[in-house]
Structure formats: structure tokens, C-alpha cells
Amino acid sequence: MKGMTLIVKKTTQLIGGMIFMYGIYVIVHGHLTPGGGFAGGVIIAGSLILVTLAYGGDFMKLIKEEAGTTIIESLATIMVILIATSGFLFGTKIFFNNFLPKGVVGHLISAGVLPLYNVFIGTEVAASIFIIFLSLVIFKEESTQ
């Protein structure tokens, strides 16, 4: 797939990294400010789509990226279910137990297991949306070959 013109490439060089860091900020501060796992994950996927659209890529590289991203998505979903199941081991033995210490409301390290949930759900959502975009691009490349 062809890339875009020089202006778009230079702008992506300047902005793409900042959008990625903003997505990580929204995910990690999910228990303090509005946002959370889903919003931050979609922002990260948006930055990856921007870089792919601006620079293009040949066919083999896109297929390798898609294979790697499906592995990341499956691993993130398995980690979410593992954290939920590990409530069986500590404290009151129920599913989805919030077992780490809760700390002071408003600090960065607080709210038990919630920051871990945010991180893994954010990774999974970003990988899903990027996979859907990549599979559409690969379909178009295959049908014109």
C-alpha cells in the first residue's frame, strides 16, 4: 500500500509519538480521571492507524504485523480472566475479588486491582481495532494482486 505525501509524513513524525503517550496516560490514570481502559485503548489504536496510513507498507510486513497483533490480543484477554480468577486465592474466596490494598482515594497507586484491569483491557482493545483495520488493508491488497 502506498504512503502519502511528504507533508503528511513529516506531520506524523512529529505527532504520532505524542498521541501514543497520551493514550498510555489515559489508561494508567483510569481510576483518577475520566477515561479508563476502553478510551485509552482506542486512542492507542488511532495512533497506530495514523502511522500505517501515512507511511504505507509492503504486503509481507503487513501480514507479519497482523500475526503478531493477534497474539497480543489473545494474551491480554487471557490475563484479564486470570486476574479475575486469582480472587479465589486471597481474602474472601469469590470471583472478581478486589484483593490488593485499597490505599488512599486519589493517589496513583490505589484502588486494588483496578489499574491492572485498565492496562490489560486497554491493550486488548487497541489490538482489536488495529487488527480490523489491518485485515481490511490486506483484503484489498490481495484482491488487486
Binding site: 484477554t77 483491557i121 490481495e142
Partner: protein, 175 residues
Amino acid sequence: MELAISVITGFMILGALYAIHAKDLLSSVIACGIVGYSLVICFLLLKAPDLAIVQIVVDTITLIIMVAVVHDSSRNESYSKLDTQGYISAATIILLIMLLLYFFAVSIKSLDVLGTSSLRMAKYYIEGAAPKSGSANLVTGVVFDFRGYDTMGEAVVLVTAVLGVLTILRIKGKK
């Protein structure tokens, strides 16, 4: 605030009507974007910033994909005349919409003012979410701690949707 929401909803209806009647497919796709972005302003006026963040980014990604599709196929719509079955479907839809609006008008007298209703369970969540789950953001505390099953179901639905997309969009398997 109700006046602002009514004005924006009227704007959305105008955008949707234009999206149906535009001759050029690119114009109608951009008019679909009007509906999505006006919804962001409605969410902000109703005090829901989490939904506004997700809606603005997902709408941008959807617009990109739709513009790419229109750009690659054709900008004109192929027109086919309505036959008998089309007329019967249209009449049934109009009848059901009028029935729905009648029941809306009957039941709207027993609802609270827009944006102020709070039930018994919602009061318990608002008072107990911050100390019990430990997070300052109430929405995250309810979504991941009180209602964790729904979030897990949502994540599984996303994985299933990706599986469906990967299954359909394969040319090599069909040859």
C-alpha cells in the same frame, strides 16, 4: 440545557436526512460523520466524559474506513425502482413508527426531568463506590469492581467480533 440538546438533536436529524438524499456518496458519508460528532456534544452536555472520549475516536476511525471504501469503489449510487414488496415494507415501517411515537407521548408524563433521575440503587452506588472500591473515578469503580462480569463479557464480545472479521475477509481460503 434542554434547549441546547434539542437544537443539537435537530441538527443531527437534518444531517441524517441529507445523508439519505445526497446524490454523491462521499457527501452522504461525511453527513454521517455529522451525526456522530453532534453526539459527542450531547454526551458532554449530559456530563458523561468517558463516553465522549470513546465516541469521538471511534467515529473518526469509522469515517476513515468509510471514506476509503467510497474512494475505492464508486461515487455514484446505483438506483433501482421499488417493487410491490418494497411498498409493503415501507408501509409497515411507517405504521410501527407511528405506534412507537404514540407510546412515547403517553409514557413521557411519568418520567423525571432529563438528567436528574436517581433511583435507589444508583444512590447506593454513588455513596459507596469511592470507599468500597478505592478509586476516585466512580465510573471505573462501578465498571470494573461492582459490575466486573459485564466488562469481561464486553471484552469477549470484542474478541468474537475480531474472529468474525478475520473469517470473512480471506480471499486465499476461497480459491
